[in-house]
């Protein structure tokens, strides 16, 4: 486990082949591989956790379903990580692909998305711009402070998650969050198809009378992948990465976080509130696209 954690930094966001292999190797995939049978079947090469290459029969492989972390496990962060997101406002043109990907992955209905793309205008003189907004996963989260039962909590890897099996639905966190990041299941949620049990890391299935929000897709992070919104953005406006490893990626390019934040004069939304967000914004200057108003009737 220690080796794996140390290896994480190097491996982060390299080609998905390695990631796939290491995931298979650490799984019960090769439990039955030691049996020696006549070699008639097709062989598959696999890499084990200690780094040796083994060859196994294809019939010995089992389909594995990724069981997400249990509510208890999901309270601990992924060791040695501190996740951050960077949003390049100069690249957003309100394509809304991030919202779509997020809704699909979390099985949300369009009336209560985790992501909003807001039309912003800082003052009368400056041009309007589009601002994608998710949960900021604050380091001093007002929502976690006020929760009476610890249903929403802060993890060592900077994530703020919600355990909807513990939530009592008092909505104090929603009143406390200055960024309107949270949504409530006012009625019965749409039936959701899932083959695994509930985990705060997937936020699926939803429950009536509980609070939900953007979770930074920890089930993807556990597989060394980035959240769905990052890969969905057609303009590479969204970066995701690890502050400790000092690297972020938007799916196509991987850059040094500290350099990006310094050179592009990054800011955090309403820094003065003291919430210490983990989402940085790069100002909407030198834009890729001119600003265009949203079509009529489009929800934000």
């Amino acid at each position: 486990m220690k080796n794996k954690a140390a290896g994480h930094r190097r491996k982060f966001l390299k080609s998905s082949v390695y990631i796939g292999v290491s995931a298979i190797a650490s799984s019960p995939f090769i439990q039955r591989c030691s049996s020696k049978e006549p070699d008639k079947e097709k062989k598959v090469k696999l890499l084990t956790t200690d780094g040796t290459l083994v060859e196994v029969n294809q019939s010995n492989l089992m389909k594995m379903s990724h069981q997400p972390a249990s509510p208890k496990e999901a309270r601990k962060g992924i060791p040695g990580r501190h996740f951050v997101m960077v949003v390049d406002l100069s690249r957003c043109r309100n394509a809304r692909k991030c919202i779509k990907a997020c809704d699909h992955h979390h099985q949300l209905t369009p009336d209560r998305p985790f992501i909003k793309v807001l039309r912003m205008q800082d003052n009368k003189a400056s041009s309007p711009y589009w601002m994608p907004k998710k949960c900021f996963h604050c380091d001093n989260p007002p929502c976690v402070k006020v929760c009476p039962v610890g249903a929403t909590y802060k993890r060592s890897d900077a994530l703020v998650l919600i355990d909807n099996k513990r939530c009592i639905g008092c909505r104090f966190c929603m009143a406390a969050c200055p960024y309107s990041a949270r949504v409530f299941n006012w009625g019965k949620p749409k039936p959701q198809s899932t083959d695994h049990s509930y985990s705060p890391e997937t936020s699926v299935p939803s429950q009536i009378g509980t609070v939900e929000k953007c979770d930074f897709c920890p089930d993807m992070l556990r597989q060394d992948k980035v959240p769905h919104c990052i890969t969905a953005c057609p303009n590479g406006a969204l970066y995701f990465g690890d502050q400790i490893a000092d690297s972020v990626t938007n799916g196509s390019e991987t850059v040094r976080l500290s350099t990006l934040l310094r050179d592009k004069a990054a800011y955090r939304y309403h820094e003065e509130l003291g919430t210490e967000p983990n989402v940085y914004y790069l100002p909407p200057s030198d834009r890729l696209f001119p600003f265009k108003e949203a079509p009529e009737g489009q929800p934000s």
């Binding site: 009476p148 039962v149 008092c170 309107s180 949504v183 299941n185 919430t275």
Partner: protein, 449 residues
């Protein structure tokens, strides 16, 4: 227990009303029960369909329920502060009104928190508060403070009632269960000097405890709002502001209750104009204090004119927004009671009660205005297309449950009056000691000068 003549007369006056119920009484009671049943029906729908049946949505996450919660906890101040302070100050005229004040406290401290339960999305997980409670959360402070306050108020009422319970135990009731009941609660009290001494000490201690406890309860309640980073809420003035508003509305409700019982049970000889005058003057002083806090709060945020704060203020002062409600809550509800009580010619039992009604209504509206406009003003621009997400309108379900709460308040009051005389029958003996003490102190002062 030996009763003096006056107490016997009072007891004989009240007992027939306790054991019988008139035809109009039954009618009034069934109206109350109808409202309560309506509330249960609304609750059933809310539990089955979820909070989608309320007007609350993702921006306005709290609505009528929380306004009612603050309101009921506010009027619970009647008993705690009024009876506690009047007891400690040995005010003579308190005796006929103190029982009513204490009953208001207990009933409203039971009904108030019920609104928090109605607001909760998962009532079935109430036990999580005990299982996973976090002391960092102001909600847990509230749970602890209110439950302590309720227990304290019950003890206070009980201690103040023991003498009456003993008198009722010795009264020749026809029904046996009443005997058993009063005998159990009278705990062998027979009025000897030792028991009286202990009882008085207990009452003194409880009234000394209940006053800071009441202040704490409403401060903690204010902090639920004050601790959040929201315009109109995030203010240091909030705790004392809530406390003053609470005593103001509590006194108002006490005056209304006195008027109702005076009419209903014909207590003209017990509850007199003096009580209304004195309570009216207390109401006037509290109204002035409350006006001062209101002025200070809004002047400060207006003068500072921070964008976010101003957005809320604009909504309150916008004639198409909340202006007329705000005008009623902050100006009419304060100025009218003060003027009417201030001018002796206007002062009568009916006028004092009428302005109390205005003040209590104004205070309810004020609680609504504290919650809704702030929640309708999030920091990020509201760009939702759906009107119900932008503007909060309470639904029939929420109104049904609100009326059910008021009906429950009246119903429980009625129930109390069938078990206990609502005016204390047996007077304690504490007055004599203090009168003597005062006499000796005065003599010493006179000697010195």
């Amino acid at each position: 227990m030996d009763l003096d003549q006056k107490s016997t007369r009072t007891l004989n006056y009240f007992v027939p009303q306790m054991v019988t119920i008139s035809k109009s009484g039954i009618l009034q009671l069934s109206v109350l029960v109808l409202f309560i049943l309506g509330g249960f029906y609304a609750l059933y729908i809310q539990i089955v369909d979820g909070h989608i049946v309320t007007g609350m949505r993702d921006n306005v996450v709290w609505g009528l329920y929380i306004a009612n919660f603050i309101f009921f906890i506010g009027i619970s101040y009647a008993g705690a502060l009024i009876s506690g302070i009047l007891h400690l100050l040995r005010v003579e005229w308190r005796h006929p009104i103190i029982r009513i004040a204490e009953i208001i406290t207990i009933i409203s401290t039971i009904i108030g928190p019920a609104y928090i339960l109605l607001c909760m999305g998962r009532l079935d997980r109430l036990h999580h508060l005990a299982l996973y409670g976090r002391i960092q959360s102001p909600i847990i402070w509230d749970v602890l403070a209110i439950s302590t306050y309720l227990i304290g108020s019950i003890i206070f009422l009980y201690l103040a009632t023991i003498r009456d319970l003993a008198a009722l135990r010795d009264y020749p009731f026809k029904s046996k269960w009443r005997h058993t009941l009063y005998k159990f609660f009278a705990v062998n009290f027979n009025g000897n000097s030792k028991q009286n001494r202990y009882l008085e000490r207990g009452l003194d201690i409880m009234s000394a405890i209940i006053i800071p406890l009441a202040v704490l309860v409403h401060s903690v309640l204010a902090w639920i709002f004050g601790m959040t980073l929201r315009p109109g809420w995030h203010s240091t003035i909030f705790a004392p502001y809530f406390v003053v508003a609470a005593v103001f509305s509590g006194t108002g409700v006490l005056i209304i209750a006195l008027w109702v019982f005076r009419k209903y049970y014909h207590l003209e000889s017990y509850i007199t104009k003096i009580h209304f005058n004195y309570l009216g003057i207390i109401l006037m002083i509290l109204g002035a204090l409350y006006a001062y806090f209101t002025f200070s709060e809004y002047l400060t945020s207006w003068y500072g004119s921070e964008t976010w704060e101003m957005e809320v203020l604009y909504k309150l002062f916008d004639p198409n927004g909340y202006w007329w409600w705000f005008f009623f809550a902050a100006i009419v509800g304060v100025v009218v009671p003060i003027l009417v009580i201030l001018i002796p010619q206007f002062r009568s039992i009916n006028s004092i009660t009428a302005v109390s009604v205005i003040a209590v209504f104004a205070l309810w509206v004020k609680r609504y205005l504290i919650i809704i406009p702030t929640l309708e003003t999030p920091l990020l621009p509201l760009q939702d297309m759906r009107p119900e997400y932008i503007h909060y309108t309470p639904t029939a379900i929420e109104w049904l449950l609100t009326f059910a709460g008021v009906a429950m308040f009246c119903f429980l009051f009625f129930l109390f009056s069938k078990f206990l005389p609502i005016v204390s029958v047996v007077k304690g003996e504490e007055g004599t000691n203090y009168a003597e003490l005062r006499k000796t102190v005065m003599q010493r002062i006179i000697k010195r000068t």
